[in-house]
């Protein structure tokens, strides 16, 4: 049994996962509600909230369970936020004389696919698309992956959020655009899909194109064309993601990260493996899952373990 802890960005999370990938408990204290209230802006940097939430979240996930190891996201992320999780994990593992498994947050996202009942076996090509990250990876074994392409500027989830802001929609932006796009015509506007070499992504030009479309429309007409703009903008993001996946020639495809919730993306990739939605956004079950295939640091060698901002 592994206790996973995740504090790399906005979510404070803890989960218990068995050695064969069964989720026993998973607790996520989300800041979504706060974000919604403040239009996507965090009223405070994450670490203070992580600090308030980490003990109750771990207590709720752990209960009276006997565990064999503690896993924690050690990189990449905001240093102060990561340190809250890393310090809690060290203290808990130390007190119980357990090994500690530092986990790369991005490996965690891919390892959400290894949890039961999905229990996906490599090889497959995986799109990881969230607010902070967008990359395409080749997975040959559960212990790792090879990066095929990554965003050169904005992440896909960020493109959704900033697009929603430009259109005057609420937060979370991805959900708002997805809903409005259903009433619009995806062919109404031709947004450019950036041509970058290889399998990399670029979304910042798309964001700028939307900005100018919005600026050029008189206010009254903007209201009437909003659904068309949302549909066309979403279509351009999805097309960029799908084109890159298709360019790999992969037969088995999986999608992880918050953008996996997008309905047009799901419809465009009917054969893709998708983790259940609560496991697509940041959570700790995926961290415990990744720890099953990572190198544990034995007690007490991890006391000097540091959080790292970089992947």
């Amino acid at each position: 049994m592994i206790l996973g802890i995740e504090t790399s960005c906005d979510e404070t999370a803890a989960a218990l996962v068995t050695a064969d990938g069964e989720i026993v408990t998973t607790v996520v204290a989300s800041q979504d509600e706060l974000h919604a209230r403040f239009g996507g802006v965090v009223p405070e940097v994450a670490s203070r909230r992580h600090l308030e939430l980490i003990v109750p979240v771990i207590e709720e996930a752990l209960g009276e369970a006997e565990i064999d190891a503690v896993a924690v996201t050690s990189h990449p992320g905001l240093i102060g936020a990561l340190l809250v999780g890393v310090s809690a994990a060290k203290a808990l593992a130390w007190a119980r004389r357990l090994p500690l498994v530092p986990v790369n947050h991005l490996h965690g996202h891919v390892a959400s696919l290894y949890l039961r009942p999905l229990d996906l076996e490599p090889p497959f090509t995986c799109l990881l698309a969230s607010g902070g990250h967008t990359m395409l990876v080749d997975v040959q074994e559960r212990g790792g992956f090879r990066v095929l392409g990554t965003t050169l500027d904005d992440a896909a989830g960020e493109a959704f959020d900033k697009g929603a802001r430009l259109l005057g929609l609420g937060y979370p932006g991805g959900k708002e655009i997805d809903a409005l796009a259903k009433q619009g015509d995806p062919a109404a506007y031709d947004f450019p899909v950036a041509r970058v070499p290889g399998l990399d992504f670029s979304f910042s030009g798309l964001k700028t194109a939307l900005l100018y479309k919005v600026r050029d429309l008189p206010a009254a007409e903007l209201e009437a064309r909003k659904a068309d703009l949302a549909a066309s903008y979403q279509h351009a993001i999805v097309r960029a993601l799908v084109e890159r996946i298709e360019a790999t020639g992969a037969e088995r495809v999986a999608v992880v990260g918050g953008v996996a919730a997008n309905s047009e993306l799901r419809a465009a990739l009917p054969g893709a493996a998708l983790a259940p939605l609560p496991l697509c956004t940041d959570n700790a079950a995926m961290i415990a899952s990744a720890a099953r295939y990572a190198e544990p640091v034995p007690y007490p060698d991890y006391l000097s373990l540091d959080a790292r901002p970089t992947a």
């Binding site: 910042s204 700028t208 901002p309």
Partner: protein, 139 residues
Amino acid sequence: MQTVTSSPEATEALAAGLAEHLSAGDVVAVSGELGAGKTTFVRGAARALGVTGPVSSPTFTIGHRYEAPVPVAHLDLYRIAGLDPEEWGDLEPYFDGTIAFVEWPEHGGDWLPAARAVVTLKHVDESHRSVRIDCDPGL
């Protein structure tokens, strides 16, 4: 100085020119609306300072730190309403021994270290940006 650039590449080149004058401990504030080219500007400077990997937007992650002869930090305060002392503690490590670029510096309040250069980007039209760089007199 103030100039108008006609492409992202030209904005990057301008940033590379500024980067030549920067050293460890320097902070550069980069202001401008969505899509004005802030991340593009930081990318140009980071390249000139020896960063080789992708320089992507830190909007969601808030801070990126890149290894280079002098490490480069790239912060984005877009999602932060206003810094207070505890939050400053979260960001402080990014300024330690780095050349730090800060997007949305106006959200930093009084807590940001004084900037050696202030870059202001504005939309002119879809491909042109006006770039104004105000430097500390010592730079």
